[in-house]
């Protein structure tokens, strides 16, 4: 059944592409490409009628961000979305440290909906939007 939006769980983490991007320099195209995407489960994507590389809007209590949806290439992970570490992931990550200093980088509830015509902000645009610099 086609749905307008889904409530999922956000995980953030490492991918090898993000690792190479960050070592090459955070201004590089590699870094941008590897951190402005979100891995989604195939069945979840079908529910939203998303195709690979369609843009999606992800919203949490902390804010929202537009990213490129990519089908998770190995196995299933229903109910989860996975964004590589970076400023885009952290625009929506939970700040709750549960009193031990560690924010909840894995496990923020997130609402996902298609946003086919919305652009992905560049690093500079994102920083301007968030910090006014």
């Amino acid at each position: 059944m086609v749905q307008e939006k889904l409530n999922l769980i956000l995980l953030t983490g490492r991918t090898i592409e993000q690792g190479v991007g960050k070592e090459s320099g955070k201004g590089t195209q590699e870094y941008f490409q590897s951190t402005t995407m979100v891995y989604m489960d195939e069945t979840d994507m079908n529910k939203l009628e998303l195709r690979n590389n369609d843009h999606v809007l992800l919203s949490t209590e902390e804010g929202s961000v537009v990213l490129r949806a990519v089908r998770h290439p190995r196995g299933a992970m229903p109910g989860l979305v996975y964004i590589p570490y970076g400023p885009w992931a952290n625009a929506i990550c939970s700040t709750k440290t549960t009193s031990i200093g560690m924010p909840s980088f894995k496990g923020t509830p997130v609402e996902v909906q298609p946003a086919l015509n919305q652009p992905i902000l560049t690093l500079k645009e994102l920083l301007r939007k968030e910090f006014g610099r």
Binding site: E23, R74, M77, P78, G79, Y85, M102, F105, G107, R133
Partner: protein, 486 residues
């Protein structure tokens, strides 16, 4: 053209020290033995994203200034702040970290390193229950069961498998590389068939269906001889794909699963059929592999420390290893991320008594994670200045925490432009530790290794150590002057 051998790679906690570099015209032109991240880093020393002049924000724009001016201004900011944050430290050498401790003490600030957002919970777990551990050499030569729990070395520590675990030829245990190659070949064959089917060249036997969390039955292979590789994770990572067995745990239920494993290790009976989405009989097979091995090792990562439970997950994982040592030999190691985050914890501990989140505002070191840790301080909006070195919190902290950091005067020391330097107030370019400056770093298993200098830094660039030293001297002068005036 010259060749430098046995270079230590300054990227991840594996700290591979077998890298071979070819240098021509003062630049690295070829990297041998390293992984993709290693290559990217060694080549990055002369790419266009390098910063080469100190910058200072004037009228909202970053403009070039001299080192002297930038150092003087930074010292003033830090000396006059009441509660500055000094954060980062994991991608620089122990020599710079040591001066960082002195500077934090001098300005009465908070000293924290990136462990707080990666393996901080692991340290808390270790402080609770201790840790039965070993060096990676032991693993390489003796381990016949390797378990990666909540980590994906194939992506984050690309050579971990090849140098220390499954794919290395140790003295007593061989490499599993061949069986992996066979598996890849088989998978490639299947892929080819599927692509032919898609193109209509072969008749489709099975229509494509979306993958599901299948029941994940442990394969026969768990009874095989030789090293076994098991991965426990919430999604099928790259490492999970090559493992002998991948156990898919439901998100946030690692704690339950580990406690179940502990119960089974102690031969207790369970009256449920599934735990954390895994049938108990499969967990039993995992337990059988654990208790029947000669020397097993659990490596764990962010999957445990950043998910629900956080340091409690580590508590029980370590306790599991302690239990297993009643039946066989077992060890556990955290997969430390940045190449010298272990060094940061070590240096901070030997200088102040605490590994991270150290508050010097009372004049003596105080440590209370959740209170004196940087994200909490930023969320409470208590700090009034920041120094960030060798790290990028504006990228890596949740946005609201980064906001307060940016609101106050922010000093950034980093060889490359990144999100933090783009929004900083004073930006120092520096030589790259491990490429343009020699130093010391600690591998993830606490083995210290030397970092080499292989090329010269761009003309006039100072090192982290020199900049910190000069800031510290200036701070001392300002404090002395203030004292005289008073």
């Amino acid at each position: 053209m010259s060749i430098v051998k046995s270079v230590t790679c300054p990227v991840c906690g594996c700290l591979c020290d077998d890298i071979e570099l070819t240098i021509a015209d003062g630049a690295v032109v070829q990297v041998k033995n390293g992984c993709a991240m290693c290559e990217a880093k060694f080549f990055s020393h002369n790419n266009e994203h390098r910063s080469t002049t100190p910058l200072m924000r004037k009228d909202g724009e970053l403009v070039p200034v001299s080192y002297d001016e930038a150092i003087q201004k930074s010292a003033e900011i830090l000396a006059n702040a009441t509660y500055p944050i000094l954060y980062g430290w994991s991608s620089t050498d122990c020599e710079a970290q040591r001066i960082g401790v002195a500077l934090a003490e001098e300005v009465g600030g908070v000293l924290d390193n990136t462990a707080v957002v990666c393996h901080g919970p692991s340290i808390l777990g270790v402080q609770d229950v201790g840790i039965p551990t070993c060096t990676l050499g032991q693993v390489r030569h003796r381990a016949d069961l390797i378990i990666y729990w909540g980590c994906d070395p194939w992506s984050a520590h690309p050579r971990h498998l090849e140098r220390y675990t499954s794919f290395t030829d140790g003295r007593f245990e061989g490499s599993e590389w061949k069986s992996y190659i066979n598996k890849v070949k088989a998978a490639a064959g299947k892929k080819k068939l599927r692509s032919l089917e898609r193109k209509g060249i072969l008749k489709e036997r099975h229509p494509r269906v979306a993958p599901s969390v299948h029941d994940n039955k442990p394969p026969e292979i768990l009874n095989k001889k030789g090293r076994k590789l098991i991965v426990v994770d919430v999604r099928k990572s790259m490492t999970a794909e090559i493992a002998d067995y991948f156990l898919q745990v439901e998100y946030g239920k690692d704690y339950e699963l580990i406690q179940t494993v502990r119960a089974l290790v102690k031969d207790q009976e369970l009256d449920v059929e599934k735990v954390a989405g895994v049938p108990v009989e499969y967990i039993q097979q995992l337990v059988d592999s654990m208790t029947s091995c000669e020397f097993g090792v659990i490596f764990f990562g962010m999957g445990l420390t950043q998910s629900a439970g956080k340091f409690r997950n580590i508590d029980v994982a370590i306790s599991l290893v302690r239990d297993l040592n009643m039946r066989t030999k077992f060890a556990i190691l955290p997969m430390r991320g940045h190449f010298n985050v272990t060094g940061a914890n070590t240096v901070f501990t030997w200088q102040s008594g605490y590994p991270y989140g150290i508050d010097f505002s009372m004049g003596y070191p105080r440590y209370n994670p959740g209170e004196t840790t940087v994200v909490d301080i930023l969320m409470r909006e208590e700090s009034d200045a920041g120094l960030v070195i060798a790290s990028d919190p504006v990228s890596n902290f949740p946005r609201r925490a980064a906001e307060h950091l940016v609101k106050n005067p922010l000093i950034v020391i980093d060889p490359h432009m990144n999100a933090t330097s783009l929004v900083g107030d004073i930006v120092f370019p520096v030589s790259i530790v491990g490429i343009e400056k020699a130093g010391t770093a600690y591998r993830m298993d606490h083995v210290p290794l030397p970092l080499k200098k292989v090329v010269d830094p761009p003309k006039g660039l100072l090192s982290d150590e020199e900049i910190l030293n000069r800031i510290l001297n200036e701070v001392r002068k300002i404090k002395l002057k203030n004292l005289e005036v008073a």
